[in-house]
């Protein structure tokens, strides 16, 4: 993922063409994976089935059939419904602990034969990684299967590795839930496999919530709210510390890969994430709406409509892409304001400062490390 970023400021690289993306209404998320875990949890906490599935268009009976695929929109609605439960604040964290750990007793919806298909083999890889670096490589390569609703990028910044988590296709308010879930998942995985709690630093753009106790318990307190980006970071030393051999896993590492594959595999990433990636990689061409629409193979109006369907618009995506580039260039590359202004096609430094202040609430010189 990170190599895409590096190409962004090397003028020799060719124009980045959009890859295959999924949309908010693409059916591709296997319901028997984490959505089913989510439903199990809500039901076990006394939530009624019809309240949980209201407005999702999901029928409870279909989940058991094992070939139901959900759209991101359906997942978002499911999460919104869950959040109406009176003790919903802990759900995202509890789910997080389960995402990367195969339950010893598969839940009732799972048909054991197909459950062992693609995903369990990958779980295997994740579970049998020798260190964090390996686990992250697996996770980055297979992120569409694990959690397609957030897009992951990992970047080395000085002495640490930073993993950025970004909205892939218009999660809106449910993004906080997804971030809590995935941060807990990765924290839980490193804790389980290493036998100690890793000193992750967590950065979240939302304000400190009322239910801070959940962060205390599940993320070990090291959380900064109201940050510039959603990210988690760890010192590089931890990447190669050996992990214990995983004996407890019920699947042997040579378990057969079955031919059953989910349609998820054909996608690069979500529509918003792909737009963002496109904009960042083509920044030297000073991309505009017209050219972007052409490269995405549709008319201006269609492209605008598609962005709107994902609760966004062109300027928002373009600002986001430029903001992250500016932060990276200033803090990592140590570039001057003039260099950044030129790369981002600003008329002068004053204009960059004004834009930067609007994006981040700070002036460019106030940016050091991420925060």
């Amino acid at each position: 993922m990170s190599h895409n970023l590096h190409t962004a400021y090397e003028d020799v690289s060719p124009t980045y063409k959009p890859g295959k993306y999924f949309e908010i209404d693409t059916s591709f998320i296997p319901a028997h994976q984490w959505p089913s875990t989510m439903i199990d949890l809500a039901l076990s906490r006394g939530m009624e089935e019809h309240k949980l599935l209201r407005g999702t268009g999901i029928f409870f009976e279909d989940i058991a059939t094992n070939n139901l695929q959900l759209t991101p929109q359906q997942c978002f609605q499911l999460i919104k419904n869950m959040q109406k439960h009176s003790h919903s604040q802990e759900f995202s964290f509890l789910l997080g602990h389960q995402i990367f750990s195969a339950p010893a007793h598969p839940t009732t919806h799972h048909n054991p034969t197909t459950h062992h298909s693609t995903i369990s083999h990958e779980k295997n890889n994740l579970h049998n990684s020798d260190n964090l670096q390996q686990a992250l490589d697996v996770l980055l390569a297979q992120q569409i299967q694990w959690m397609p609703l957030l897009n992951l990028r990992s970047v080395y910044e000085q002495d640490r590795l930073v993993i950025y988590w970004q909205d892939a296709c218009g999660a809106e308010t449910t993004q906080i839930f997804l971030l809590e879930m995935m941060f807990t998942a990765l924290n839980s995985l490193t804790r389980w496999r290493s036998g100690e709690s890793y000193p992750w630093e967590f950065y979240l753009t939302h304000k400190k919530p009322d239910y801070i106790e959940q962060y205390d318990v599940h993320l070990n307190s090291n959380v900064q709210f109201s940050s510039q980006t959603n990210a988690m970071a760890i010192a590089r030393d931890y990447l190669h510390r050996p992990w214990k051999i995983n004996h407890s896993d019920q699947f042997a590492s040579n378990s057969p890969i079955e031919s059953h594959t989910s349609t998820a595999l054909e996608f690069q990433r979500g529509f918003l994430a792909e737009t963002y990636t496109y904009l960042q990689n083509n920044i030297r061409h000073n991309p505009n709406l017209e050219q972007t629409a052409v490269d995405f193979g549709m008319s201006n109006a269609s492209f605008k409509r598609k962005l709107k369907k994902h609760h966004s618009h062109f300027q928002a995506q373009y600002d986001l892409a430029r903001r992250d580039l500016a932060i990276m260039w200033l803090s990592q590359k140590g570039w001057t304001n003039e260099q950044v202004a030129k790369k981002l096609h600003f008329y002068d430094v004053a204009n960059l400062r004004r834009a930067f202040k609007k994006w981040t609430g700070k002036l460019p010189q106030a940016i050091e490390k991420m925060g």
Partner: protein, 310 residues
């Protein structure tokens, strides 16, 4: 709950039916013009309300003596009201007296049983309060109750601390806050499923409740972390209680659902006391924060000790 009480409801319905049939058998209907609709409304309303109370009571209560009395009482009041209502539509011949008996007999008997029921209900509530005392301490808020452990959550903890801390500013005694965290709790969820994990938390909460004093309060902070407020407690006693709880948990043989397997656990405990220095009074947040820090230290210490042992 209602299905446990179906015989009671059946009895009430039968009695009302019998009264209706018997009344129709001996008397004639009144003409429409003779009916006093205001009376119908008030007497019918009273009977209907008695019925609503009966259903609500039966719906929310388990069977038992108190429920028996309450339902007998309300049934009596309902039947009296119902007969009264029938009078409005039916003219009884002077020779028939039993309708008066139903009316005037059922009412006092009903009221007697209802009073008896409420009296015992009151006694019952007092004994339940005594049991709940360590969970809620003088203030009830059913919405903050945690689904898994029936303890109150972190919101309630903060509210309690905010209420109690000012009292401690003037007192000489400190207040202690313990945060109790189950070691390696995620292993249980991972190996046995989260329902087993929930059950373990519930068992542990019962265990801790047994070993604390009358005025202490146990809450579920979040996840596998409990919070224990010890009012008027100094460091020595707080640490003694912490080690007692820790020993209690270590010796607790928890049984899993599926096998006859015993699982043993340990807890790490962080202790924080209110500062005696009145110039820097503690807030709920700062006290919790210090307890969390103390807990992290305790966990680290435990890990070091484990490494040395191994």
């Amino acid at each position: 709950m209602l299905k446990h009480h179906k015989w009671k409801l059946f009895f009430v319905a039968m009695s009302a039916n019998l009264a209706l049939i018997a009344s129709l058998a001996v008397a004639d209907l009144k003409l429409l013009a003779e009916i006093n609709w205001l009376d119908v409304l008030s007497e019918g309303g009273a009977a209907a309300l008695a019925l609503v109370w009966l259903v609500l009571i039966l719906h929310s209560r388990p069977t038992g003596r108190v429920t028996q009395y309450l339902s007998l009482g309300l049934s009596g009041i309902f039947l009296a009201g119902f007969q009264d209502l029938l009078d409005e539509f039916i003219r009884f011949p002077d020779a028939v007296q039993w309708d008066h008996w139903i009316e005037s007999g059922c009412m006092p008997i009903g009221l007697y049983f209802l009073t008896l029921g409420i009296y015992h209900w009151h006694k019952e509530q007092l004994s339940i309060n005594a049991q709940l005392r360590k969970r809620e301490r003088l203030f009830r808020e059913h919405r903050s109750m945690d689904f898994t452990t029936n303890l109150s959550g972190a919101d309630y903890l903060r509210k309690q601390l905010t209420q109690t801390l000012p009292e401690h500013r003037h007192a000489t005694n400190t207040l202690a806050l313990l945060l109790i965290d189950v070691d390696n709790f995620n292993e249980i969820n991972r190996c046995y499923g989260h329902q087993q994990g929930d059950h373990l938390l519930q068992s542990l909460s019962e265990l801790i409740l047994l070993s604390i004093r009358r005025n202490d309060l146990l809450c579920r902070y979040a996840g596998d972390r409990f919070a224990l407020i010890l009012p008027n407690t100094g460091r020595v006693v707080a640490e003694k209680m912490a080690s007692e709880i820790s020993m209690l948990v270590q010796h607790f043989a928890y049984k899993t659902f599926t096998q006859d397997e015993s699982l043993f656990h340990s807890v790490s405990i962080g202790v924080a006391l209110t500062s005696i220095d009145s110039s820097t009074p503690d807030s709920a947040e700062s006290l919790i924060e210090r307890a969390n820090l103390a807990l992290l230290h305790a966990k680290e210490k435990r890990r070091m000790a484990m490494q040395q042992a191994a």
